[in-house]
Symmetry: C2
């Protein structure tokens, strides 16, 4: 008997010993989804400078192009405990990197939720990151770019307009802020240009993703909330729950009753009512939440300071207490019977 | 004693049993590196259309921006067998997705080399994918876009110029091609716009990456070869080996002797000599390889058809026999004492 136990033990130990913080996956990979073939025709062949100081050379923009596809990366934990895939959708001017890691180098929510046993699908919205973008011949608008001051003043890191300074010592950070301000440059490295004319293409690609991998749970941030609720209205039978982190506008109020069977959690951080922009978004989200409830649905609402979690910026998944907020989300998902 | 074994066994079995094809990681995440702060000043406030059909609105482009940073994602296997980190650098008009997955949904080389025990750092060159890109006020050139016909005719999938057709049945695929032509649209979904004026910025960010995570091995593809050899010339003590897959030009011949202590493997696929563009690149690479050897270094050269591996396109890490080619690379790395 002792020999039997010894042999069995040796067999088990021959596989690498797993530490509590190892990540064990039964699969991982990526794919692109959605998009359409755009034809550019009848455009003049134009002369462009391809390299600074170089000669003008011919560029023929006519032809067929793949445009408006979306990049999705997925991680499938061995110890699957989430009942459904968890789809993480980022905010404006950002990519899936939002959820991967923090500017000060800690693990992001992708790792957190993999460790909790969720199949995680982390994507870049159309036009951003690894999704690529279309030429000016296809999209009749230009991208916009974020200067340093913008997210600092707008995402409740600094004390609103005028709080940014090139001199770190002169920046007016909100007292008690949880954002890793010492790594603000790394946050700016994560930002990407943003078009303002691509909403429909973004929604179309998200719908294609939902049709491929759902039923599922959506985890939405900021502008991702605006897209996520509209997608859920189009596929209410496939979106089984929504966690919206500071949704920057929500769905279409008249369609809100479609979400009567989709439980929703709305989360807001600190200093929201003091910031006109976020107070306005909160009001819009409240109206949408009320419309869901009036239609027979369920919305839970957490203002983090009211449960004792203070100092959170708009980028709470990158704030220093990001794991604490992820725990709040995990607890809600478990309470809804979706996780363990 | 029996109680001791029983307790130990229960403890071990409480961790999930690992299957042979599971991926066990001791860590994973991402970061951005490099880049610089660019100031835009003295530019006129201009009027832009932000949404098609919308009004002209003011855009003030002046301010400070983070530009030319690079995105890097890393996976650290539990069962580490690679002696050094493996850095995977993609080709032109593409991103790190090149190495993640194939257009027909198989696992890519990232997974392959993680399974072989390598710490893998997969990045998007400056200007591409999750690295973001700078505004026309910072970069004085415009991006170029790939129409469907271009990679098909240029990357030895089709039979050269004129082989593309919108009608799949009319496309002239190279007989015996290993490229998953049925999934060509998915390949096009992976492509991203490309600037032609950003080489120095790309090299600077790669050097910053090498300074952060090396000594290391570089796995280069196509345009990534042009960058990788130049970076290795700048950091010969940190780049301990180079695998170059169809390097589209190489380093600077006069600097090649700097690589005398860096073993190099050059790999080319099939139908190279029949395609003028690739024959030209092969000639350039040969001259560079000869210069390394003349300087006392070591270069191994594999033309895949000569070892019986036929039909490979320029995108061999996505061809149907991609794992077979990865095995060739793995074998070379092991022979150089770098892996197990």
């Amino acid at each position: 008997m002792r020999r039997f136990f010894t042999a069995l033990l040796i067999g088990v130990l021959a596989t690498p010993a797993i530490a509590a913080d190892d990540i064990v996956l039964r699969g991982m990979g990526s794919f692109h989804i959605g998009g359409r073939i755009a034809e550019v025709k009848g455009k003049e062949v134009r002369m462009i400078v391809r390299q600074p100081g170089g000669p003008l050379t011919k560029l023929d923009p006519n032809g067929k192009y793949m445009v408006e596809q979306m990049y999705v990366q997925y991680f499938l934990p061995k110890n699957k405990m989430g009942k459904l895939p968890l789809l993480t959708w980022h905010g404006g001017g950002l990519t899936g990197v939002t959820y991967e890691s923090t500017p000060d180098g800690r693990e992001g929510w992708v790792n957190f939720f993999i460790r909790k046993g969720w199949d995680v699908y982390n994507s870049d919205a159309v036009e951003r990151g690894r999704s690529g973008f279309a030429s000016p011949d296809v999209w009749p608008s230009e991208p916009t770019f974020l200067p340093f001051a913008d997210p600092f003043e707008r995402f409740r890191i600094g004390q609103g307009e005028g709080s940014w300074s090139d001199d770190p010592a002169q920046r007016k950070v909100i007292p008690g802020s949880q954002f890793p301000v010492e790594a603000y440059n790394n946050y700016m490295r994560q930002t990407v240009p943003r078009w303002l004319s691509t909403d429909q293409a973004i929604i179309d690609a998200y719908v294609a993703l939902v049709d491929k991998v759902c039923p599922c749970v959506l985890l939405l941030h900021s502008q991702g909330g605006s897209f996520g609720f509209k997608v859920a209205e189009l596929r209410p039978d496939k979106v089984k729950a929504i966690v919206a982190v500071e949704s920057a506008t929500a769905g279409i109020v008249a369609n809100a009753p479609k979400l009567k069977n989709t439980p929703v959690l709305m989360i807001f951080g600190d200093n929201v009512d003091q910031h006109p922009r976020w107070a306005a978004f909160k009001k819009i989200d409240t109206e949408y939440a009320n419309a869901i409830k009036a239609g027979g649905g369920s919305v839970d609402w957490i203002n983090l300071p009211e449960i004792g979690i203070k100092g959170n910026s708009h980028m709470m998944m990158q704030d220093k207490n990001s794991d604490q907020i992820a725990e709040v989300i995990q607890k809600w998902l478990v309470a809804k019977g979706l996780g363990e």
